[in-house]
């Protein structure tokens, strides 16, 4: 097991090295002059050169590449030519918002989808199963952007149930920064007013973000449950008089969860990288918005930083999922 984890971690390092190299090369060959853009539309050539020199863009690409790795080793991800902020500071500022939204949405999806998937399989071709099918197909087919606007229109404007956007109310001061996740920090500090405010603000974007994941997890879990429920060992357990609830909970669900876990792992990565639409509509100050704005301005260093961060997250999440397989199914061996 330990050997497997070390091997996977080494593989992650190698993959990240390749990822950074590819993104570095792509960003350097893309058209556009970041120094000119950052200097402003009216800047003189002299001003553009000042900017180029300050951000090291006057050096050969190989030197810039090596210098990036040198900085990386000391935790320096460079500076944004657009905002002039250190990339690491920007990531610390924006990533927790995305992480909080992603984890909350994923939890929401898992908590709702797994029981629903089980119920759909158990009550196959009954009202609930049909309703869940319609829900799943809509979840995968509805454009997220449209859904977000509709929810805003009805739940925020028409019925005034939930706030329109943002992480907190305008006059609410953020909680003391411990994990930078507002829900967690407000819980730790016992700041219930902020917790309630943060919870209300996260609901709408989380519903929108979890919708496609919810739909696909329900479908996968239902299909797996149906397959497992028809296996011989279930018939045998049933013949031994084991209760229905125990058969489903202890024997069937555990076996059906392995493909579902794969789906959850993939969805985590997808959600992390795909929050941009939700972040835009709900003004969620996350990393998706930061990445897009940086890409639009050919701002290399933040693009590299975001790629690195999302890459690490995605790979670690998949490693964790792979390790969970062993817990769910003792037959799985790590070599």
């Amino acid at each position: 097991m330990k050997r497997y984890i070390v091997k996977r971690l080494l593989l992650i390092f190698l993959t990240l090295f390749g990822l950074i190299t590819v993104v570095f090369l792509i960003s350097r060959v893309a058209p556009g002059d970041p120094a000119r853009l950052a200097a402003g539309p009216d800047a003189t050539d002299e001003m553009v050169e000042v900017m180029r020199k300050e951000f090291g863009l006057d050096r050969p690409v190989v030197v810039q590449y090596l210098s990036y790795f040198k900085g990386l080793a000391s935790g320096n991800l460079g500076r944004s030519i657009r905002t002039r902020h250190n990339v690491i500071d920007d990531l610390i500022r924006f990533f927790p918002a995305t992480l909080e939204l992603t984890i909350f949405s994923l939890l929401l999806a898992v908590v709702l989808a797994i029981p629903l998937g089980v119920l759909c399989a158990v009550y196959r071709d009954r009202f609930l199963d049909h309703a869940a099918r319609v829900f799943s197909v809509s979840g995968m087919a509805l454009p997220m952007f449209w859904l977000a606007l509709m929810l805003q229109l009805f739940l925020a404007l028409k019925f005034d149930f939930l706030p329109l956007g943002g992480r907190l109310g305008l006059l609410t001061e953020p909680p003391a920064k411990i994990t930078h996740l507002y829900l967690v920090d407000s819980l730790i500090t016992g700041n219930w007013a902020v917790f309630k405010d943060a919870l209300l603000h996260i609901l709408l974007p989380a519903i929108v973000l979890c919708f496609p994941a919810l739909a696909s997890i329900i479908r996968v879990n239902r299909a797996e449950m149906l397959e497992v429920l028809n296996r011989d060992f279930i018939v045998s357990v049933r013949a031994h008089g084991v209760s229905k609830v125990r058969i489903i909970g202890q024997y069937a669900l555990k076996n059906a969860l392995i493909p579902t876990m794969t789906m959850i792992g993939l969805r985590y990565g997808w959600m992390l990288g795909g929050t941009i639409l939700v972040e835009t509509v709900f003004d969620w100050p996350g990393i998706g918005l930061y990445a897009v704005q940086s890409a639009v301005y050919s701002d290399f260093q933040p693009i590299m930083g975001v790629t690195l961060l999302i890459g690490i997250n995605f790979m670690l999440a998949n490693l964790i999922i792979d390790l969970i397989y062993g817990v769910l199914d003792p037959r799985v061996r790590y070599e």
């Binding site: 009216d42 002039r84 609930l128 706030p163 003004d283």
Partner: protein, 528 residues
């Protein structure tokens, strides 16, 4: 589970949500103070007046800092602000300003001529942000403190528009800036988010990517004209146009700047909301490559100019725009109306010019490049396809990101045949637009036409050094006529600048010299 149980569960969920009801409210009140909420699309990642300026940054800078002079009203006027009066030598080289004596920075330090000198020197040395406006005409050595409240600028060469540039050069507190200097950076690192100003507002909360909150300086040195002035405002980022519309409707914002033309018309009819609608100075034109390809031929450019349906531009903005009648925007100082000469759709004339160019039936393709995702520019491309099709010219629409557009337009060999450009004059002087047609502007986004007329360049250089404005006007009249005759671009329109306000927000004064969504918050007050 039965259908009845499912319905009960659903009702329970809705009930729980109802418990959280009642979130929307208009105008934030904290400890009895009125905090206005301004919904804006664009963040302000760096508010250092020496490093950065765009509309959102400048709106915050205008609140935090003061300048020697200030733009107000429409048509825009330059009025004294930190300066009480000023004198200029007959050759427009020596400019002397007397300062008010009661102005104070936010930490209580007086605003003196020494602070003005420091601020100008800092911007000129750092060579970022607004430095380009004066870099060619002012050296740090040309700035002299005459006494505590008198400052003199001696320019390298005469520059008549000098005073019109000054409202964008803010005065910073040298003590505060230099106290935060690191490795000789003149405080650049700290000033990104720092406040060293004397303006009517000071910083309260700075949450990048979320909001910026400013609070009114109770004892602002210039005082507050209205007793109901706002006690502060929150510059809240709402990036999506539809979300801004919902925010103003719901009362989560008191002012919004970025909703679609259709939605502005819609919210204007709603109770409790009014929409301002003022002619702006931003021009939209389709620049043609004057140096390469088919559009190098003046006859082709004129044929295109006569084939274009100008009224469609107005329709795209639902009537909230006016057509340009000169290369210089209507409302800009020095603008001369050339209404009778201006190109308007005339297919007969267009075909005559096609004949003159040796392409009576067209038979070629032109590229139209526009900003990806900008719906108005895309619609204008569709108009081009329709209009130029009548001349046998095919139009290929190419959406690009702004950096890629600028990169392509910067060189004459790669600059597209036609490119959609919005341009806003930065200061109120004809030189600012005339210079966009100068050779020195090639490579910049507004120089993508690579306009080539040495006579126009010479006249522009001569006009900017003449002190007497009436004398300068003779040059600008000629320049406007000559540019018009050369048809370097399709001279398009100026769209109206609009904001939606809750009806209790009063005191808004429109000034077209401010950029896109920028508002001066100083005169705003609440009438409930």
């Amino acid at each position: 589970m039965s259908s009845k149980k499912w319905c009960l569960t659903l009702v329970a969920i809705v009930g729980i949500i109802f418990l959280f009801n009642g979130l929307g409210q208009a105008l934030e009140i904290r400890d009895g103070k009125k905090i206005l909420v301004y919904g804006a699309r664009q963040p302000a990642p760096n508010i250092d007046p020496s490093q950065y300026y765009d509309w959102s940054t400048r709106m915050l800078q205008q609140s935090l800092y003061d300048a020697l002079l200030k733009y107000v009203g429409s048509p825009p006027q330059v009025i004294p602000w930190l300066a009480t009066k000023w004198e200029v030598s007959p050759d427009a080289k020596v400019w002397t300003f007397n300062l008010v004596e009661n102005a104070k920075f936010h930490n209580g330090d007086p605003v003196t001529a020494e602070a003005v000198k420091f601020s100008f020197e800092r911007t000129l040395k750092i060579k970022k942000g607004p430095a380009w406006m004066l870099l060619d005409v002012l050296d740090p050595s040309g700035i002299k403190v005459v006494d505590d409240y008198t400052i003199q600028f001696t320019l390298n060469k005469p520059y008549a528009p000098f005073e019109t540039v000054l409202p964008w050069w803010y005065v910073m507190n040298p003590k505060v800036v230099m106290a935060h200097e690191k490795e000789g950076d003149m405080g650049q690192e700290w000033m990104k988010d720092g406040d060293a100003g004397s303006g009517p507002f000071k910083q309260r909360r700075w949450e990048h990517g979320v909001l910026y909150e400013l609070e009114a300086v109770a004892d602002y040195w210039r005082g507050w004209e209205n007793p109901n002035h706002i006690d502060g405002y929150i510059f809240k980022l709402i990036r999506e146009a539809s979300s801004q519309r919902i925010a103003i409707q719901k009362g989560e914002c008191d002012i919004v700047e970025g909703i679609s033309p259709e939605d502005f018309d819609l919210v204007a009819k709603m109770p409790g909301i009014y929409v301002s609608n003022d002619p702006g100075l931003t021009t939209f034109g389709i620049k043609m490559n004057n140096q390469k390809g088919y559009t190098k031929d003046i006859n082709i450019r004129k044929a295109i100019s006569y084939a274009f349906d100008y009224d469609s531009l107005i329709k795209i903005y639902n009537g909230n725009a006016i057509l340009e009648d000169s290369p210089f925007p209507i409302g800009l100082k020095g603008h001369v109306s050339l209404k009778d000469k201006m190109y308007r759709q005339d297919l007969q004339k267009a075909k005559e010019y096609m004949k003159k160019a040796g392409h009576p039936d067209g038979g070629f393709e032109l590229e139209y490049v526009y900003v990806q995702g900008l719906e108005e520019e895309r619609k204008m491309g569709l108009v081009l396809i329709d209009n130029l099709g009548k001349l046998g010219i095919k139009v290929k629409m190419v959406p690009l990101t702004w950096p890629n557009m600028v990169a392509r337009g910067s060189k004459m060999d790669t600059s597209p045949d036609m490119i959609a450009i919005f341009a806003t004059p930065v200061f109120n002087d004809p030189d600012v637009v005339a210079y966009q047609y100068h050779k020195n502007s090639w490579g910049k986004y507004y120089g993508t036409a690579h306009y080539n007329n040495a006579e126009v360049w010479k006249l522009t250089e001569q006009a900017r050094v003449i002190a007497d404005f009436d004398e300068r006007m003779k040059y600008y009249e000629k320049i406007q006529n000559m540019i018009m005759d050369d048809a370097p671009e399709i001279f398009g329109m100026q769209y109206n600048r609009r904001w939606a306000f809750r009806d209790y927000v009063q005191g808004f004064v429109f000034c077209p010299m401010r950029f896109t969504g920028e508002i001066d918050m100083y005169p705003i007050y609440i009438q409930k």
